[in-house]
């Protein structure tokens, strides 16, 4: 069971309640596809991913980025049982999507950068620590059902 301090809980709720999922999701996913191009292997049917401009403007990427953020929302609303909440999604990513779980960390790092850019000075070291802890639990939960 993950232990969360009051500060960590409040920080996570605060960050996500103020976040526009339809901006941050696409920004994070498209950044991931640019910075770590091998992640494109999972999006063969998304159309044009030939260069950064194409990726950033690709509507399938944008749509999927938003879906991912809504997936994170589940964790935000269930911080005390994230393993259970993500069990089904973990099975999906392992058995159907065949995503190497290392990729979850790559996307998480890109999301951190996007959130940092959005929050600016408000993204203090303490806030960053809380955010990265939350993301680490998500990443771990998503990798849990792999076998």
């Amino acid at each position: 069971m993950v232990e969360w301090t009051d500060f960590e809980r409040a920080t996570i709720q605060d960050i996500f309640s103020k976040m526009d999922y339809e901006v941050v999701g696409p920004a994070a996913l498209s950044r991931c596809l640019v910075v770590y191009p091998w992640t494109q292997r999972y999006f063969g049917n998304f159309g044009n991913l030939y260069n950064a401009a194409a990726i950033m403007g690709n509507p399938n990427v944008a749509k999927h980025g938003t879906i991912i953020l809504h997936g994170l929302d589940r964790g935000v609303k269930n911080m005390d049982n994230m393993k259970e909440i993500y069990a089904e999604l973990s099975v999906l990513h392992s058995e159907k999507l065949h995503v190497d779980p290392d990729n979850f960390k790559l996307l998480s790092d890109c999301l951190t950068i996007v959130v940092a850019a959005q929050l600016g000075k408000a993204f203090t070291g303490e806030v960053q620590a809380a955010f990265q802890k939350f993301m680490a639990v998500v990443v771990s939960s998503l990798g849990r059902q792999y076998h």
Partner: protein, 144 residues
């Protein structure tokens, strides 16, 4: 993983020209964040009386690190050769586990995103990520 293309080098140099004026601030914030977000990194600084983010030791170290990064930008065409003595320092005297270079690189980029949100585009991000990775590799060159 570490060959920088001509375009990578161009992008890194251009971005560095924009941000180097704030180098001290970037370095200080990056080191402070590293100590806060990755507390295990504090083990290398047990000789500091004050390990808090606002301490003079953190500021001094941030300045030192960023000066090293800036120097590496000027030696971007031969990082291994250019960073030889720094690598020896880290290998034989400091003996910092190279895993920590990745951690500090991440925090440097978080600070860049915070301070230059419009300029730290995905293209700049990938070039900077590659550059910091190449820098880290050059720094670990003399370890064994």
């Amino acid at each position: 993983m570490t060959t920088l293309s001509a375009k990578d080098k161009e992008v890194v140099k251009a971005f560095w020209a924009k941000v180097s004026g704030k180098g001290e601030q970037i370095g200080t914030d990056a080191v402070a964040r590293m100590l806060t977000v990755y507390p295990q990194t504090k083990t290398y600084f047990s000789h500091w009386k004050d390990q808090s983010p606002s301490s003079p030791s953190v500021r001094k170290h941030g300045i030192t690190v960023m000066a090293g990064v800036g120097d590496a930008v000027t030696k971007i065409d031969d990082l291994k050769g250019g960073l030889l003595s720094l690598s020896e320092l880290h290998a034989f005297t400091l003996r910092v586990d190279p895993a920590n270079f990745k951690i500090l690189s991440h925090n440097i980029m978080v600070v860049m995103a915070i301070m230059f949100p419009k300029d730290f585009t995905p293209e700049v991000h990938v070039a900077m990520d590659k550059f910091l990775a190449a820098l880290s590799l050059a720094l670990a060159e003399k370890y064994r």
